[in-house]
């Protein structure tokens, strides 16, 4: 289980997060949603220790601040929003970096399997810098995946922290990534991800954290948290949520275009 206790972040003089307390469970996909500047990424960065914060983050019952880098790396993989790479590494070499902290000997074909999972196997020998933005994002995801390939090791769940993993992807690859997140959770791992797309969120999330102005305004299942009123309050525009009849798929439709003083 991931437990965040009273997370407060101050950047410069501005308080960005005002005491967030939330939890996420292994075996579930938890999605952080909210408008631009609501503190989604900052919250994820606090959970992964990338930004200074007050409060406490516990992962599988252990205080993250007391764990060494290699211990954390064995427990979780972290995909940042943007990844720059120095030097002309090939795609295979980049993904292999995810195995830096790995201790198992049978990791030979992991790189290939991870690349296949993100549909990049044919690009293994290409230079990373020559790829498009979306392809680079998939390679970075593969690098994070090899790090925590088995969602559960010795009964201990492992975690994926993803910051907008589908931001630069086409719709087919967005669905692939959503599928990978679901698969990881269904095999016992925990996934915490920032997503912008509410409909994708509804497809993948077991639990949603709705952020607004540095505060957590709701946590729970999609239908509990993403209501017409809550979304209008957070995003400042009218959205109508509903379910498609046959399978009951959740959707959110905008009700008016912006910029009209709605």
């Amino acid at each position: 289980m991931l437990v965040a206790e009273d997370i407060r972040v101050v950047l410069g003089k501005a308080a960005v997060l005002h005491g967030i307390t939330a939890e996420a469970h292994a075996g579930e996909v938890t999605v952080i949603v909210g408008p631009n500047g609501s503190g989604k990424t900052t919250l994820l960065r606090a959970l992964t220790g990338d930004v200074g914060f007050r409060g406490r983050v516990r992962l599988n019952g252990r205080d993250c601040s007391e764990l060494q880098a290699w211990e954390l790396a064995a427990l979780r993989g972290v995909l940042p929003q943007a990844s720059a790479l120095a030097f002309p590494f090939t795609v295979a070499e980049v993904v292999r970096l995810g195995l830096t902290a790995a201790v198992h000997a049978d990791r030979g074909d992991l790189v290939a399997r991870a690349l296949a999972a993100v549909d990049m196997l044919g690009f293994a020998a290409r230079l990373y810098q020559e790829l498009s933005g979306g392809q680079q994002a998939r390679v970075q995801l593969a690098r994070v995946l090899v790090q925590v390939w088995e969602p559960v090791v010795d009964g201990v769940p492992r975690w994926l922290f993803l910051d907008e993993p589908v931001a630069s992807l086409d719709i087919a690859h967005q669905l692939d990534v959503i599928g990978l997140m679901r698969g990881f959770a269904e095999r016992g791992g925990g996934v915490v991800s920032v997503l912008h797309d509410l409909n994708l969120t509804a497809m993948v999330a077991d639990r949603v954290w709705l952020m607004d102005q540095g505060r957590l305004t709701g946590q729970g299942s999609v239908t509990q948290v993403l209501t017409d009123e809550a979304l209008e309050r957070a995003y400042g525009c009218r959205l109508r949520v509903g379910c498609l009849p046959p399978a009951g798929g959740w959707f959110a439709l905008p009700q008016a275009v912006g910029g009209q003083g709605t």
Partner: protein
């Protein structure tokens, strides 16, 4: 360091890098023999086969002049190239050079201080250091400037690479200004010393100097390959390097100390020799990729070869006189570097 093999996957360049390593080792052995057997005196390596019948003069030339010179060349070349590779990995920038972080500027300032103001040093100091005064001062200057920069750039246990780079530029400018003042007040003999020291030379190599600076360089050369995994991870950025399990702060600390030791000691014995630290790692990255597990070792080997070759040219082109080796490395290095830049322009981001 465990090699990670991906049998069914293309895109690994490990095999190529290992082959390059073997080829470079062989080339270094050949270059060492060439370096030992060539010189102004005309003594050839064949006189070694004479055993005890070898003339005393030949023995002196081989053991007291050429051997320490060759060993110094190997260590200095390897140190400069490896320090360049480490620095570039640390700054995630292929144009970073130990000169940038102020080690070169600090070491240079130390040397200039010793040359110009050496005469004013207390008698006991002069007596204790003798002609080692300049190298020792260069070494201390390099170390002190690195420590200073490290302090400036480190806050609550985290070193900001960007701050260090900028502070290095500022310190370089300051060292340049102080050096300028010293050059202004120097007399003619000191100016000549300054010029030659600044251009670099292996001509002053001797066993005592090698014994003083050699162990420091060897220590740095042995330490550097252990940074390989860390520098590979740092290519992803510091945050990502931490998330793949690397002790980022420790990697940075060891990298900075390694660079300071290697560059300080190299500049101390051989003066200012440019381009090895940039050209060698760059060429190797083009040939076998940026994986530091191979890059660091190969850079050390190639740097040693390049400096020995440059030294051979420096002492044979206008024999029996010698060119400063820095002139040779810059004359060879700069055009090669420009050529690479032009050829690769637009293909791969630097």
């Amino acid at each position: 360091m465990v090699a990670l093999d991906c049998p069914r996957l293309e895109g690994g360049r490990d095999h190529q890098a290992r082959l390059t390593c073997c080829a470079l080792a062989v080339a270094l052995a050949v270059t060492m023999l060439m370096s030992l057997s060539h010189g102004a005196s005309g003594v050839s390596l064949w006189s070694l086969t004479l055993g005890d019948a070898m003339p005393a003069r030949d023995r002196l030339i081989l053991w007291e002049i050429r051997l320490p010179r060759m060993l110094t060349g190997i260590l200095v070349g390897a140190s400069l190239a490896m320090a360049g590779a480490v620095m570039q990995g640390l700054f995630r920038n292929p144009l970073a050079d130990p000169g940038l972080v102020g080690v070169g500027a600090g070491a240079g300032l130390g040397a200039v201080l010793a040359i110009v103001l050496g005469g004013m040093a207390p008698l006991w100091l002069g007596a204790a250091l003798g002609y080692h005064l300049v190298p020792v001062a260069a070494f201390l200057g390099g170390w002190l400037s690195t420590l200073l920069l490290y302090r400036v750039a480190t806050r609550s246990g985290r070193t900001s690479v960007a701050t260090m780079l900028l502070a290095g530029i500022a310190l370089g400018a300051l060292a340049g200004a102080v050096t300028g003042v010293l050059v202004y007040i120097a007399d003619d003999r000191q100016l000549r010393d300054l010029t030659f020291w600044g251009l670099g030379s292996l001509g002053g190599a001797s066993w005592p100097k090698l014994m003083a600076a050699g162990p420091v360089m060897i220590l740095a050369l042995v330490a550097a390959p252990f940074l390989a995994r860390g520098l590979n991870g740092l290519a992803l950025g510091e945050a990502a390097a931490h998330h793949i399990g690397l002790p980022v702060q420790r990697v940075k600390t060891v990298a900075i100390l390694t660079v300071a030791a290697a560059t300080g000691a190299a500049v101390a014995v051989a003066g200012g020799i440019g381009f090895i630290g940039i050209v060698v790692p760059h060429l190797l990255r083009l040939a076998t990729g940026p994986d530091h597990r191979f890059l660091l070792i190969n850079a050390g080997l190639a740097g040693a070869i390049l400096l020995l070759l440059a030294d051979l040219i420096a002492r044979s082109i206008i024999a029996p006189a010698e060119l400063p080796i820095g002139i040779v490395t810059a004359t060879l290095g700069a055009p090669v570097f420009l050529w690479i830049l032009l050829r690769r322009r637009g293909v791969v981001d630097l």
